[in-house]
Amino acid sequence: MKRKLNPGYIYIFPAVLIMVLLIGYPLIYNISLSFKDVTLANLAGNDQPFVGFQNYIELFNHELFPVALKNTFLFTIGSIAFQFIIGFALALFFSMNFKLANFLRGLMMVSWLVPLTVTAMLFQFLLSPSVGLLNHIPIYFGWIEEPIAWLSLPEYAMWGIIITNIWIGVPFNMLLLATGLNNLPKDVYEAAAIDGATWIQRFRHITLPLLKPVIMIVMMLGFIYTFKVFDLVYVMTGGGPANSTQVLSTLSYQFSFQNFDFGLGASVANILFVILLIISIIYIKMTDEDEVAS
């Protein structure tokens, strides 16, 4: 049988070419960098000695690596859990389609539109123990007695950044989930209502299962977006105090641009990449199974 070239390939060719150039090249460059001993002295030249897994061995023995890894996961999971729950609650709320719902939903998007560095600096003020509103309010109501120095205490600093990130991420979760909710078939709900299903039953047995693909996308995008956080941490704490907010991206930055150890910095970036790759593969596997099942 003679194979015919699918003309579709021709149409995607330009896009593939650009992807390979703009995404593939830096990726491969970074991987090769992580196997070499590269400093500022030989960054431009060809004299970059190949050192095998030396950078990775150094990284795994580095005292900050487990700290950064743990912090990155804490930040990601902490952020996503709250962003998702609050975002979902708001999406359900706005799906009731009352007056002003659209207007308010639009207003919510503001926090998604503000540049990250601006938000970071705003929350530095809000979380400050001397002038911060987020300390003033709980004290006023008597929930806490002393202001909490959110960003200066190692046990709170990460939560200070997570709170900031929750505020940023809620509208994103809300918007995607609200779109998903709007597209659910109305007749199923009507049938359930006729059969006397309660609100909770409808939510558990109709909304959640039907919305699963959307939930998966929201979680996955949120995870990827959150896991590679850099600007928030860099502006708010710079990884401190006492490395309590050091994450993989800031560690990579520190190795590369403060210590000029580009090989080591690249190896951190690659670990970050591999973790995200694994998550993405799991996601693709799960969606594939879903499609087969349905």
Partner: protein, 418 residues
């Protein structure tokens, strides 16, 4: 039908190739491309500086560059402002992708690192021929030398001192403190409501280390002598100031600029900072009566040298760049910049002639500069600073005791140095 598809592909390819053509993409900013085609015989140089052209001193420096360009027909220097925090990153990018400047401003503790990375031109011969070394203060000059060779010329110098809000001290009848004990007592008396007695930056990394080092030096120890029996006292001192509430815990995230804002807002009665903050303090708190004192001492007065150096990255225009650098470093021009900007010149003759000994604020900084020690010089200064400042954080936040933190800092530094 098929042919139609293939012609579409060809069209895409042509479009992409056209977009990739470098001849198309150049614009005014693309200096390296234009260099070749520019007017014959004129060398185009770039000067990376972190002196902000929107401020008075940056404007002055740009005017001086313009003047140089007019006087030298065959050299055209472009002043490019790169914020201080981005210099490292921009240099890395330039080394990898080309486009290093011909003249580079470097914070003096970073100089050894750049020199060790083979980025800078060895200008020992030129400096010797120039013969002005004797006119420079020792500390700033030493920071431009790596392994016995000259890699630049100091441009400005400074040191840290104590800023004191006289109104607050007078109100309580407190004398300006000269020792740590007096500083602690004064801070205690001055701490009231929203006003804290003392402030200094304890941010992570080199900036925080710059502020911590005078205290460490005052105990008689140094970054490479953290096993000195008194070294822990510096950690203990700053930790105690925070524990007692005389210094804000937020100082762990405050840079020197934020500390100055606290001082001008009246939230801190005293602060450690440098002379570059004088314009900001006068501007933000025009009615405040403040004075400058040496940083209170433990066993000896100590301060740390700050300041900017100028170096020549390797490139095709080293001769022209040196013409500019030696011109800018001449007594006449150094005098002009120092006088106009209020920054201290590393040149002895300029300093002598300006007569700042008579100024109540500047004279104290002059004295501090005299006492000041350079940071390092060590090519791994950033890593050393990072390691020590980490332990300062551990001590202040109570993760370790001051003794444990000092011991750990000692081991980390030894590991980096060896």
């Amino acid at each position: 039908m098929k042919k139609w598809h293939w012609s579409l592909l060809a069209l895409f390819s042509i479009l992409i190739l056209a977009a990739c053509n470098p001849g198309d993409g150049s614009n005014e900013n693309d200096s390296t491309e234009d260099n070749e085609s520019a007017a014959e015989g004129v060398a185009e140089l770039t000067f990376w500086s972190y002196v902000n052209p929107n401020q008075h001193d940056g404007q002055l420096l740009m005017d001086m560059v313009d003047e140089f360009n007019e006087a030298n027909e065959n050299i055209e220097i472009t002043y490019e402002y790169i914020p201080h925090g981005e210099i490292d990153q921009q240099v890395s990018v330039a080394v990898a992708g080309g486009g290093l400047p011909d003249i580079l401003m470097i914070d003096n503790p970073d100089h050894a690192r750049y020199a060790s990375m083979n980025v800078l031109e060895d200008i020992t011969d030129k400096v010797q021929e120039w013969g002005e070394e004797a006119q420079y203060f020792e500390g700033p000059w030493a920071s431009t030398i790596y392994e016995g060779k000259n890699y630049g010329v100091p441009f400005t110098t400074n040191a840290l001192a104590l800023f004191v809000n006289n109104d607050m001290l007078n109100e309580k009848g407190i004398e300006v403190p000269t020792t740590w004990d007096e500083l602690t007592t004064a801070s205690q008396q001055l701490t009231e409501g929203n006003t804290l007695g003392f402030s200094m930056s304890a941010i992570s990394g080199p900036e925080g280390m710059f502020q911590f080092l005078p205290f460490l030096l005052s105990t008689g120890a140094n970054y490479d002598q953290l096993d000195d029996p008194n070294a822990y006292r510096a950690m203990e001192f700053v930790t105690n100031m925070v524990d007692e509430g005389y210094m804000s815990r937020e100082t762990l995230n405050w840079g020197q600029g934020e500390v100055a804002s606290q001082f001008t807002a009246g939230n801190a009665a005293m602060m450690v900072n440098g002379p570059w903050m004088l314009p900001q303090v006068r501007n933000d708190a025009p009615d405040m009566d403040f004075s400058i004192a040496l940083i209170p001492k433990d066993s000896e007065y100590a301060s740390v040298l700050g300041g900017e150096n100028l170096a020549l990255p390797k490139g095709d225009h080293v001769e022209e760049a040196w013409t500019f650098l030696s011109w800018l470093s001449s007594k006449e021009q150094a005098m002009r910049f120092s006088e106009g900007s209020g920054q201290f010149s590393p040149r002895v003759d300029v300093s002598d002639e300006l007569g700042w000994e008579g100024d109540p604020h500047l004279s104290v900084f002059l004295e501090a500069i005299d006492n000041a020690q350079p940071r390092g010089p060590h090519p791994a200064w950033n890593e050393i600073a990072e390691a020590i400042q980490n332990q300062v954080h551990n001590s202040i936040t109570g993760i370790s005791t001051p003794e444990e933190a000092t011991e750990q800092a000692h081991q980390d530094v030894i590991e980096i140095i060896e």
